[in-house]
Amino acid sequence: MASASTLQLLGDIGGPIGQIIQIAMTMFFVLFIFFGQKIQMRMYLLEIDRGLRRLDFIRGQAKDLSLKTIKEIGKPTIDPGPHLNVLLEQFFISPVDMDPAGIVGKFDHLLDVRENKFKDDVRKIAPGANDPQSRNLENLVEASWALNTIYRIIRHFYLLGRKTSSFFIIIQLQSLLPLIMQEAEAYLGAARAFAEGQPIGDGIGPLVASKLMKDKEQRKVEKDVIVAETLLEDRRVIALKAEGPGGNVGKPGDAIRSILQENAGKVSMVVMVDAAVKFEGENSGEISEGIGAAIGGIGTERYKIEEEATKQKIPVYALIVKESIQEAITPMKKEIMEAAEKVIERIKTLILERSKPGDTVIVAGIGNTIGIGQ
């Protein structure tokens, strides 16, 4: 309760302080009517600025980690810093799509060129790294590249929004910021996993395939893909995955196509196992069954599988393990890893229901095989 003197000083609503308050309130309302949006924009800009600082910090951490790992593992003879900066600014120009005929081949070719150049560039700055380490370094530099790109894009729109005072650029950026920050944090987690060579959530497909091909005779098919044959419920199962344990996704589209062509008329079904982004509210490690080629990326690998399967009229089934986008690129969570055995059980059920004894079935483990051997 206020003391008597304070109350006296304040007076009633018609008193001097009361009048000041009324004037202040009126001014506040008038200011808010005319400058409300400007004030709101300033608040949003402050929020974006804070996010941008954090993004800068995250990309700095990823870059430092890349440099440290390159120096530790790669034993470079030259200073890798300037070369790394060049790699972090690299870009990719998509093929023209005005005439879409043949665009998949063009994309595939450009992606191969990009991958080979990236690989060569990383090897140049890390000559001391062995093959799996070199692949891990490629993944690490790619994570740093992603963070650098995110930062540059956000900074661009932030400065553009500020320069043009465009409320709509700023409001879009502010609304997307939490998702962008989540992704950036996940990329930093991914960079740490790549530096150490730890399996990531996306590796659940290769993990399933490697469990099937363990202790079996293995051979290398198409680019960086390992294949082994095993028996499952009296069916001949051809399991395939990218060659591990280095960070690698291989070219499963090419591999499946060549296996289908090698075994023309013999394959009764293709089962693809991959990690897939869950909806909010769903549990990580849950398994879902579907139809079609479960493989991410730009679509070139999926195209090859769909094309060959359609040509030979082979059904393609998909088993996906649900996880968040963050879990997919950070070290594999226990609940995701535990899903591998359940997936194998689901594969058994699927082939029992959809094929006959003696049939040939392809099981493809799709994803990044970092930290997963075979």
Binding site: I13, I39, R50, Q198, L207, G244, P331, M337
Partner: protein, 118 residues
């Protein structure tokens, strides 16, 4: 700027609250309600600003996790859970089993566990 507005509104809120309570005590309900409505508005705006600012800060950062390796023996029931070490990978041969003496140890699992859960 938002901080300054909030500060002014807090002062206004406290002052009008005092006035409102005083007027209520002296039986002047109409004026009391006028003061108290300004109080509600002022504090409401401040609360709104605070929750907005907090939401801005509340970008969900990732929970720290620890990566573990599970070493198993292919010949006996030996199992060991240890911290992940660089260079390890799933199905890597990990040496001789201390339980059965056979060179059949391998890394069976590598997984991340949230530190909070442990």
């Amino acid at each position: 700027m938002p901080m300054l507005i909030s500060l002014v509104l807090v002062i206004i809120g406290v002052t009008t609250l005092q006035q409102g309570v005083d007027k209520f005590g002296s039986g002047n309900t109409q004026e009391a309600l006028l003061y108290l409505s300004v109080t509600v508005f002022a504090f409401g705006f401040v609360m709104f600003s605070i929750t907005r600012a907090r939401r801005g800060y509340a970008i969900p950062f990732m929970t720290p996790s620890k990566v573990m390796s599970v070493v198993r023996c292919a010949q006996c029931s030996f199992k060991q859970i240890k911290n992940f070490a660089a260079g390890e990978y799933v199905f890597k041969i990990a040496g001789t089993c201390t339980q059965c003496g056979k060179p059949s140890l391998f890394i069976n699992e590598i997984y991340a566990e949230d530190i909070k859960k442990r």
